[in-house]
């Protein structure tokens, strides 16, 4: 148990600045009280999550949503609050110019603009000390014939190469894929194979991001995890959960068993430690539930799945697998999954001087009421703001 607790104590989960802002669907964004109005306040919220959970010490930024004049100051602000800047997420999908795509747009002027933004993001990484450039492209087509599938790959490859070349020592390019939305006929990086192939072409510091909500129905995500780990190309997760499309619900809310299976592959490959370089990020939209407790809940869900994965009896599992004992091997996995790990995690938190129940502690602390009172005037942050 002490080894398991040690592994859990070392775990790092990154929360996204935009998860604290207002979000919604195409039908409606329902604003919430106390939502941050700028990146500084988002970081305050992220730091609050870390204060109660102890495992969320970094926060991802989204540019230009989180653009500030002085990034060094923003990094210091984070440090003052006990957290650090994580990945820099480029946004090349909300400018008027990107209606038909960014880096894969048929118009070279638009592509130039998009790549310049990517290069600016690397500049921000330099200033904030961020290691990871996370790239998700909304590029794609709505109608068959709308553009040339192959030419778009050529343009994408060119943009990625220029960006990759700009990376500094110790910086990485993380390429995300997504089956659909906002493009509805095809996207330009629809699946892990496409992201993987581009990363191979780029070089060793290009890695794939798995957003758990970005797959076709029935896709076995833990297979992809295992495959990319074997190939040395898994860079990060964007955790969330879904019943249908890219629903962006709290991770572990829709299929906690799947999350456990994913974490089992991570543990099995010894990829949980920060040294392994996998960034475990959240990417969620809390459309109807209060944001900070939802992020805390999500962090706990990842922690619980991890604890269960650490409980798997690896030797017994390997033995049953080797013997072709189908039911026995499955039972070893299920035994771990069926264990209630909440007492163990409460104990771990107590060891670390944290409240054993982070959600309850947050609710008691008065932070929500305070920011709701303070954060009036100005404009609440949201997608596009």
């Amino acid at each position: 148990m002490s080894e398991i607790k040690a592994a859990l104590a070392e775990q790092r989960i990154e929360t996204p600045s935009w998860g604290y802002g207002n979000s919604g669907t195409r039908f409606r964004v329902f604003p919430q009280p106390g939502v941050p109005r700028d990146p500084w306040e988002k970081i305050d919220d992220a730091a609050t999550v870390h204060r109660f959970t102890g495992v969320a010490p970094t926060v991802s930024l989204h540019i230009p949503w989180d653009a500030v004049d002085d990034y060094a100051a923003l990094a210091r602000h984070a440090e003052d609050r006990g957290v650090a800047i994580g990945a820099i997420n480029a946004n090349v999908f909300q400018d008027e110019a990107y209606k038909l795509g960014s880096v894969a747009n048929p118009d070279p002027g638009v592509r130039r603009k998009a790549v310049d933004h990517l290069l600016d993001c690397v500049e921000i990484m330099d200033r904030t000390g961020s290691r990871d450039l996370k790239l998700w492209f909304a590029d794609g087509l709505n109608y068959p014939g709308q553009d040339d599938l192959r030419a778009r790959q050529d343009r994408l490859a060119e943009a990625l190469a220029e960006t990759y070349a700009r990376l500094g020592e110790g910086q990485r390019l993380l390429l995300e894929y997504k089956l659909f939305e906002p493009a509805f006929y095809t996207t330009d990086v629809p699946d892990w194979g496409t992201a993987f192939a581009h990363c191979l072409d780029l070089g060793p510091r290009a890695q794939v991001v798995i957003d758990t909500g970005h797959h076709a129905p029935g896709t076995n995500i833990e297979f992809i995890v295992a495959f990319l780990l074997r190939a040395g190309r898994l860079g990060a997760f964007d955790f969330n959960s879904r019943f249908y499309a890219d629903d962006d619900l709290m991770v572990g809310a829709a299929d906690p068993f799947q999350l456990f299976r994913i974490m089992h592959e991570i543990v099995r490959a010894d990829a949980l430690t920060p040294a392994a370089g996998i960034a475990f990020m959240l990417d969620q939209c809390h459309n109807i539930e209060p944001k900070i407790p939802a992020v805390i809940r999500s962090v706990l869900n990842v922690q619980e799945a991890t604890a269960k994965a650490l409980l798997v009896d690896a030797a017994a599992l390997a033995k049953a697998q080797q013997e072709g004992d189908v039911l026995g091997a499955n039972a070893v996995l299920m035994d771990a999954y069926n264990t209630d790990v909440r007492p163990l995690l409460a104990e771990l938190r107590a060891d670390q001087g944290l409240d054993p129940d982070p959600v309850a502690a947050f609710h008691r602390c008065g932070y929500a009421a305070r920011v709701a009172a303070e954060r009036v005037g100005g404009e609440q942050a949201g997608w596009g703001a």
Copy 2:
């Protein structure tokens, strides 16, 4: 052929006021030049579509997006332009109050507000002469346990009953279903079975709406069409097309063969004529393509699928089916589908004094340039405006 042309000449397709306004995804709405700023201008656009196609004589309204002070004047404006007001679509999903649902909300005050809006919509039907109240509820849950599935059905049934009771002579309640979005764990009317069951409870003037984008992957839509026609409960279509979720692309753009199969069931049941009471509506979002030509294209797609369905050799089909001739029966259907019906439709249009190529004629007529120049100032219409 003359019978087929006669059937095609009688066809009626309804276009939606909101299809002329700006739309987008949760990531971005890209505005377009010349987009209407109010319901009057939307009706002008709908009338333009009818002028070039000859088969789109009605336009659906969406309340409160299309709320005006004087509905009689709006109806007269439509009539002056050569069209009429079609279905009234209620909107109980964009008000702050509806965050956790409208007619199925646990809060009775919210439910009252929602039902009052539905009753107001019937009032607007009275004033505009509209026959159909079209109801789509965004109600649903994002998380398991969030609310009680069964209690929500009870509340929904109560709201529907009160609304149904308010209908006047010759008015109908059309109930739409949708698998997901904006709710991501469940919706309160997720499938045709749910809508059908509520319609049975309500009475004969309650009918089901099939939105072609609102199904789970793999759902056979023409089966539902055939089943509801047999049960006398098919009220309307919301036509659009999709590759993944509720993509709201132009009807016939993603799977033209499916559209043909749907129209085949309509023709087979003799349900094409206005007398049959099926409302053939479009419900689409032209996020990146110009809206009026996209609506024209959509109308033509429905027309072409209908023409092919009318070409099916019903006697040969029935004979092959009766004989268990699998390949022969399929071939009869495919023969019709593989026929190029564009010459026939061009001929029909020429007979009716229309340009044989409505898209080209629209582009030549200068309407797009004119409205782009005229419609400046004010706020362009869009979802939520």
Copy 3:
């Protein structure tokens, strides 16, 4: 806890005779040692499952797979072994005549043959004391146009009506739906709505069967459970689990959280007790794993999900739901799900004089080795045998 244990003690799960026989995919059936060679031996296996679990006192038969000369003797054999005959499953899909369908076949002679088989099954119910006639039709089409969708519904309705009329006092007709397979364009009862509509037409003793593997991707099964319970039309479950299609894996193996949510709706509607009339059946194929332990594992999985559902704090849940506390309500549900109920169930079994670990007890008892040795010669039972 004593109430929960009482509820669990009363639970009844029915196992299928064909689950003990060899099964496989279209690619290959891998035979297993000790598989039964006739219905008598299948019943022996079912009785063994009941002996170790205490909650599987009935076994479904499949006709003609389980046809015998003397059904009364078969019922007595079951009784001698401590179990009883459950539902009678009709098979109208394996005879040469049914290539293009059974009750929906265009050929009236084939339909007559199929209906006669259904009537024979009612006869067998009379002789075995079975309450439930379970009907699943493989009827459907592989190609568009192959047959008339509507005419097939008419034929289906006629066959169901004749069968329903033959039911005796206290007998029920249970109608199962399935999205696809073995028909690949459409089936004649593809979804719950179709089954429900036919049941409504038939009368109060016609009820819907939910096979958990028979839905389109993304279908919310617990919604259907809740809806049918509200409508008084849920007759039975065919439990199994799936990742893709109708995979027929062990129930709870693919998505244990979904199984819990289903059982939560059952408990919430007070439909767990035998008095409620819901038949909780397994319908699985143990293609690669040993069959008896797999059935035991499946029974335990249902039991565990039920125990968790019984642990839900209904008052706290209702309060959070009423208050619109999204995270709070979800947390109440998850608290129950995250509880390790295995100790509780072990205790229950000890109370009942059973081994607390049925799988281990079965492995120790020597039954598998004994039947492997004894059941040589003859032909092992399987699908189609």
Copy 4:
């Protein structure tokens, strides 16, 4: 038009020996009269398809289904009938040993047996003059934990490497992927990315096979086609069509527009000619329809989709794409798709001395009745025989 006809005249479609044998679902195989009893008769049927269509000059074999003592004699038999032996398909899924996998099995003895079979298949290629070794592995897992995902990749890679090393001059290894079935939790080559990565590791003569029925719902297959063509790694197609899973219906029967889009990518990449090295194969199961006419129909469907793809106005398409004219570009594609190409193909056949209507000509020729009369006694070929 003459260029289009020339391109069509050069087209080559390969039919599968097993498509002429009996097939079915796990529920039932319905035998048909006149079905071949051995590989020699299968080749006779394939030659018949070629005689009427003129574009099906090769036939794929499946080993051991098509094992014979003298492969050179079999190749001569084919040559005598006017066709040649195409790809050799290895079968490592039907032997008792492969219950838990073949090349990825945890048991090294089973792996040895499987690899030996693959090497034998290369031997058969040497003897028959076949160029392509087509590998599909049924390997996979039914239950989470059943085996180690990563170790299975290692074993798979090792088996592939040994097989690849055995290839002779001008021989290729074609690796097929499949999402699921017969394994239901994961397969070991579930998607194109996995096949692609293994091919990269193997070398330039390892290429990916796209079976059009082997994807998750919503997968954009033509994107994969375009991507693999760009990467120089598309080796072959297994054409068929599907509504749900791997339904193996006639190609073009479920979604003819998709088939057209696939062929559009082929034409756009100039990959239609035999010189480009893409093998266009059928892989279908004619469960309920007569097999030879179904294969003819399938060949015609591919031909018709190809003809439409050749009709696309490439210059107009490129111009509209470059200008960002979404509707215009889509219209160029749809114009080609909506054209009735059957007269053109009839003309092409007449030019080649073939009957313009191959299906009708086959029905008139008496072949079906003759083989039904002749092929009595012996055992009809089928999956597994």
